[in-house]
């Protein structure tokens, strides 16, 4: 590089912070010559893009339940939590597909409760009414479901076969629906559940090397290419 170019570059870098700060005044100075030090830019005055939650805009794709299980779950959701007054029901809150995502991400024991329960509901429906659960009318569905409902306290759902699934699923369907955007968009009356809201804690100084409990080594750093093979591109000035 010619000496005058070098001097010009040094002078520019020296003035860069002042020039960038001047962007915040009424008549900002023109931007400095490229390249701008990349760590400067985002600042407390930077406008934040406005984003929406995905529910109601994009559809969740079914990944876990089989088509038959999904059809049973949809019918179950509609029976256990239909729309009441102005409040949406579980279907309007997209609860069945949300549960497909939640249960599909869950440990095997929880998956088993759901798949076993949904399969049983369908086979019970076939046994009693010679048709799939998804096609039962409300009275028929009530006849299967109501005898299995129990009262219970936190952390102690019923353990008897089939009653466990029905009561756990009812609780989950209510939670998923009440905590949906669709539910929240309609004001709740005194005795209607409100969408849960509170202080959400982000990960605090997360340990990015944490993984399996046996990992004790720091992963190898990426090594830069050796100098000799790296060619510096030329930019016209």
């Amino acid at each position: 590089m010619l000496r005058r170019d070098f001097v010009r570059a040094v002078v520019s870098i020296g003035f860069a912070p002042r020039l960038l700060l001047s962007q915040q005044t009424a008549n900002p100075a023109p931007p400095p010559p490229a390249p701008v030090p990349w760590t400067l830019g985002l600042n407390p005055k930077t406008p934040l893009p406005h984003t929406e939650v995905v529910d109601g805009i994009a559809e969740t794709e079914r990944r876990f339940f089989t088509p038959v299980q999904m059809a049973v779950l949809v019918r179950l959701c509609d029976v256990l939590l239909p729309p009441i007054g102005d409040k949406p029901g579980a279907l309007q809150a997209e609860t069945p597909l949300f549960l497909d995502f939640l249960i599909g991400s869950s440990p095997a024991s929880r998956k088993k409760v759901y798949t076993g329960g949904l399969n049983w509901l369908d086979s019970e429906s076939q046994k009693r009414y010679k048709k799939p659960f998804a096609k039962l009318d409300t009275m028929q569905a009530d006849a299967i479901l109501k005898p299995l409902l129990r009262t219970w306290m936190s952390d102690h759902p019923p353990t008897e076969p089939h009653a466990d699934f029905i009561n756990i699923a009812h609780d989950d369907i209510r939670t998923a629906t009440v905590n949906s955007k669709a539910w929240s968009d309609v004001p709740s009356g005194d005795a209607q559940a409100s969408t849960e809201a509170g202080l959400y804690w982000s990960p605090i100084e997360p340990d990015i090397y944490a993984g399996s409990s046996d990992r004790t080594r720091i992963p190898a750093r990426v090594i830069a290419a050796p100098k000799g093979t790296h060619s510096i591109p030329a930019y016209p000035r």
Binding site: V53, D55, V79, L80, L81, P82, I84, F98, L102, S105, S106, P107, R110, L145, K146, L149, R150, T151, W152, M153, S154, D155, H156, N167, H170, D171, D172, R174, T175, A176, N179, S180, K181, S184, D190, A191, Q192, A193, T195, E196, A197, G198, L199, Y200, W201, S202, P203, I204, E205, D207, Y209, A210, G211, S212, S213, D214, R215, T216, R217, I218
Partner: protein, 523 residues
């Protein structure tokens, strides 16, 4: 090379460590405090959000924190991750080990219930023949309890029976609601005292080491604190055999470090302090480090409805307020079914009744919720778990945490004593509720798994005999006079009471003793 040797190394920054830091630095002693996790800053790390903005709509993230029943999606990132710091147990006997490694530990999130142990706990063996007496009595700890109650601004009423000693309270003179008065009257035939709750009000909404203890220590200029320091093991002087510091690893960078100190104070929480002693092979001439793990049974209870408060008729005069029913079993009479006893947390609420209390759904459920809104009255148990030698923790050499430190294996289970106690609590609670004219909606007899209460104590119990205890009455190791364990590990029995006030009082007393011994150059 750093040659600095601190006067005292304090491992842990919760209630126990915070109190030790405050007392020791205020006595002019230079302390180094190590904490395994980072500082939590609510302004930077937390934000108010509705559940639908979270990935799992408020459900606990799948597969995470399976043994922390208290976790939700909102708070999942404050608890210790079970994959990062695992522990093992037999699948037939699960254990819920609930931990916080943020600066301040679990003192950031505790329930604030503040009770003293009584001599029914300190001298339990003298009362009923089981276990061991503590080497101290309520009279020994009372002056410290009073000072702790002042620091933590404990509110309560002077209405405690002998098994729940009164303290230095901000007096709670709120009137009882009518539903509570009915419950109290019905409880008389069961000899059941019903008293005002006792809660630490703290300051500015928080009653924690970080706002009530550490600032005082920092103001002395004698406290140096390091965050993200995961202690691997204590180091021992080759010549004297005494602990003289520790090795630790930086939580994030994995850099291995060491520090030196004349005295070591363990305050990492009952099981972490014990894990450290076991991994360091220090202080265990009795063979009892890890033994007599105790906590309290939680989870059993009764939910009721007050009929007069239904259908929109709930008022603040009829509903509202909380009470504590301190242990009333095995005080003046003897139960055939169990030793010791339990307390009941009683709550009358003008809010909603949970849908789980109605075996129905859809429009019928909504009708019930509207009818019963404002009529909730419920009670839950806090029961003493007996200290048994076989309930213990040990090191599992086959498994390590994310920093290569061997983990704990927990082997503990409840026995008939605890199960019978839970059954009695639900039976009596239901009977009193019905006698008061309430409708019982649901009950649960089965306690939550051991550890759920987050009140694990014992495993380094104190006693006068070095063959039958790990620590003396000052929380000082029988084996090493420069080693103290000031958290819940020192408990000789669990009691039914939340352990926080006792942990704070014991830490204050032990630290003042230590400061005195150091000033006399005995340590």
């Amino acid at each position: 090379m750093t040659n600095e040797t601190f006067d005292v190394l304090i491992i842990g920054s919760g209630h126990a460590g915070g109190m030790a830091a405050k007392v020791l630095t205020e006595s002019g002693i230079r302390c180094l405090m190590l904490n395994a996790g980072p500082v939590a800053d609510v302004a930077r790390n937390a934000q108010h959000k509705p559940a639908y903005e979270l990935p799992y709509r408020g459900f606990k993230p799948p597969g995470r924190l399976e043994h922390v029943f208290q976790a939700s999606e909102f708070n999942a990132n404050v608890w210790v991750d079970e994959q990062e710091v695992p522990y093992t147990f037999d699948a037939a006997n699960p254990y819920n080990w609930v931990r916080v490694r943020l600066f301040g530990g679990r003192s950031l999130f505790w329930s604030r219930q503040s009770f003293r142990l009584s001599d029914y706990e300190f001298k339990g063996k003298s009362h009923d023949g089981f276990g061991e007496d503590w080497p101290i009595s309520h009279a020994d700890l009372s002056p410290y309890y009073s000072r702790v109650e002042d620091i933590f601004q404990v509110s309560g009423a002077m209405d405690g029976p002998p098994q729940m000693p009164d303290g230095n309270f901000i007096l709670d003179e709120d009137p009882w609601s009518e539903s509570m008065q009915r419950f109290m009257a019905a409880g008389k035939s069961f000899n059941m005292p019903v008293c005002k709750q006792r809660r630490a009000l703290g300051r500015d909404g928080l009653a924690s080491s970080v706002n009530l203890l550490l600032p005082d220590a920092e103001n002395t200029g004698k406290l140096t604190s390091i965050a993200n320091a995961v202690v691997r093991e204590l180091t021992v002087d080759k010549n004297t055999g005494q602990p003289n510091g520790c090795h630790f690893v930086d939580r994030l960078s994995r850099r291995e470090m060491r520090v030196k100190a004349r005295v070591v104070v363990l305050a990492a929480g009952t099981l972490e302090s014990t894990r450290l002693l076991l991994n360091s092979r220090v202080g265990n001439s009795s063979g009892l480090v890890g033994r007599y793990l105790m906590d309290q049974i939680y989870g059993s209870g009764v939910t009721c409805s007050v009929p007069e408060a239904r259908n929109g008729k709930a008022t603040k005069e009829l509903m509202g307020g909380g009470a504590i029913v301190p242990r009333f079993r095995n005080i003046t009479t003897k139960s055939d079914a169990f030793l010791r006893g339990y307390a009941l947390n009683v709550t009358s609420s003008i809010g909603p009744v949970h849908p789980r209390n109605f075996a129905t759904y859809g429009a019928e459920l909504q009708q019930k919720l509207e009818e019963y809104h404002g009529s909730s009255f419920h009670m839950t148990i806090m029961g003493e778990v007996l200290g048994r030698y076989e309930n213990h923790v040990r090191i599992n050499k086959d498994k390590v945490d994310a920093w290569g430190i061997p983990v704990l294996h927990v082997e503990t289970k409840y026995t008939d004593n605890e199960y019978n106690m839970a059954k009695d609590a639900v039976e009596v609670g239901s009977a009193v509720a019905e006698a008061a004219g309430f409708e019982v909606l649901s009950k649960n007899i089965a306690p939550n798994p051991p550890g759920y209460s987050i009140h694990e104590v014992g495993t380094c119990r104190m006693g006068n005999d070095p063959k039958h205890s790990v620590l003396n009455k000052w929380c000082q190791s029988h084996d090493h006079k420069n080693l103290f364990v000031v958290d819940g590990a020192s408990f000789t029995s669990a009691g039914w009471q939340n352990p926080t006030m006792t942990i704070l009082a014991l830490s204050m007393r032990a630290s003042e003793y230590l400061a005195g011994e150091m000033s006399k150059q005995n340590i």
